[in-house]
């Protein structure tokens, strides 16, 4: 089947199998391997992308369901060589251990800060509830979200 959608600002059109998941479309068809597959059941959040502005698990969406949609993956955040403030904060604070969960966390953070620019700790925890870090580096992730939120507010 034919799918047309906008991925990281670029229009893409491909012929795909109807049982392809959005996650497979992103990783295999478009070769954007920043988005990770963890559990494949919506439990871990490693595959989080923005679909029409909302954080979703790309392992739970069929690619064809995203026909006509606007998708942002972790590759779409940086501005050329300059990292997005969220990415910068994760690196600076040391919120990245093995790194596998990081793209998902960064996309969940992006969605959170888009709706809640000045989140309380409780709101951060709620915003990231769908993401697991098996290295258990949660305190640094919290620090990174707070730092990113402050910088993004200041640069407004």
């Amino acid at each position: 089947m034919r799918i047309q959608c906008t991925v990281n600002g670029k229009s893409v059109e491909r012929d795909i199998s109807p049982d392809l998941r959005l996650l497979d479309f992103i990783r295999e068809t478009l070769q954007l391997t920043g988005t990770k597959e963890g559990c494949g059941e919506g439990e871990c959040g490693a595959c989080t992308v923005l679909l029409d502005g909302k954080a979703v698990n790309s392992c739970l969406v069929l690619a064809m369901q995203a026909d006509g949609s606007v998708i942002i993956t972790v590759e779409g955040l940086a501005d050329g060589q300059a990292l997005h403030p969220i990415q910068e904060a994760y690196v600076e604070v040391g919120a990245v251990q093995c790194g596998f969960c990081t793209p998902g966390f960064i996309m969940a953070t992006y969605a959170l800060l888009q709706d809640t620019p000045d989140p309380s700790e409780e709101e951060i925890l709620a915003g990231l509830e769908g993401n697991l870090c098996r290295c258990t580096g949660y305190s640094k992730i919290l620090d990174a979200v707070k730092l990113a939120a402050r910088r993004m507010r200041e640069s407004r």
Binding site: P18, A55, Q65
Partner: protein
């Protein structure tokens, strides 16, 4: 497998008349089950774009929610927070941000898990399910809609258009607690929800619903009538604990033993009543 994005209800009914067809909306259950081989549809009907399945409104004394409305939209709806605050509260604990941005409350119901979080507030608010088939449409009480684990009265060729519940419990006290291994994304080991109307220290009305302790989420109507009219005094929580542990017959499974489930429901019930005590213990 074929995939079709249906754009109106007549297209949907046409699609459902074909053997091997299956509705997908948010996909948070269907896609997992398809990959596990538990569902093998030959035609997948995507209903996300059908306009008549969307929206939240108050009409003729009912709060009505379209079947394709996202859980996140329901949770944030001012109408839901006003007329069914316990539903909004439970949705905040259902799945995760990512799940609620795709999943629907109607899907949670049709999936018919004995542990379905969404079923608890809907049972308490006396919800009905609008079932639409080729020949007729009707409102079915949620309590009789569930027939067993993963099973409902929905027949092949039919779909759910909306859920509705009568309004009129504004001011009722609410309680919901689920026990699981993780706050987010947990499948409840046991869950309990209450709607409680207390006047002058006595229970005017109590509605009790439990999850994960029976083949379907269910109301405990016998205990409700036993407790109606009773003074909510310091002795009641312990008595209520015995009543509820005697009224449920949970099973042991991969997540917990029957004895644990019975205990935890008893404790939750006692705790819920204690939190609404009008006299100090």
């Amino acid at each position: 497998m074929r995939y079709q994005r249906v754009i109106n209800e007549s297209e949907l009914l046409d699609g459902l008349s074909q053997p091997g067809s299956l509705i997908v909306c948010g996909g948070t259950d269907v896609i997992v089950k398809m990959r596990a081989g538990m569902l093998q549809p030959t035609l997948l009907l995507d209903v996300t774009q059908i306009e008549s399945l969307h929206g939240i409104q108050v009409d003729e004394g009912h709060l009505e929610i379209g079947a394709a409305t996202l859980e996140s939209d329901i949770m944030h709806s001012p109408l839901v927070n006003q007329h069914a605050p316990l539903l909004a509260l439970v949705l905040r604990q259902l799945g995760s941000v990512q799940i609620r941005n795709r999943g629907t409350l109607a899907g949670n119901i049709v999936n018919a898990s004995p542990a379905a979080d969404g079923a608890i507030p809907l049972l308490l608010y006396e919800a009905e399910v609008q079932v639409v088939g080729p020949a007729q449409e009707q409102w079915v009480r949620l309590e009789s809609f569930f027939t067993g684990p993963g099973k409902t009265t929905l027949s092949s060729g039919e779909f759910v258009r909306a859920l509705r519940m009568p309004i009129g419990t504004d001011g009722f006290r609410t309680f919901f607690h689920k026990v699981g291994k993780r706050n987010a994304l947990t499948i409840a080991i046991a869950s309990l929800g209450l709607l409680l109307n207390i006047e002058q220290g006595a229970i005017q009305e109590i509605r009790i619903a439990v999850g994960s302790v029976a083949p379907t989420p269910r109301r405990l109507r016998k205990i409700e009538s036993q407790l109606t009219g009773r003074a909510l005094d310091a002795a009641l929580p312990l008595e209520a604990r015995d009543l509820i542990t005697g009224a449920i017959a949970p099973i042991s499974d991969i997540r917990a033993t029957a004895a644990y489930r019975r205990n935890v429901i008893g404790d939750l019930f006692a705790r819920a009543l204690r939190s609404h005590l009008t006299q100090p213990l």
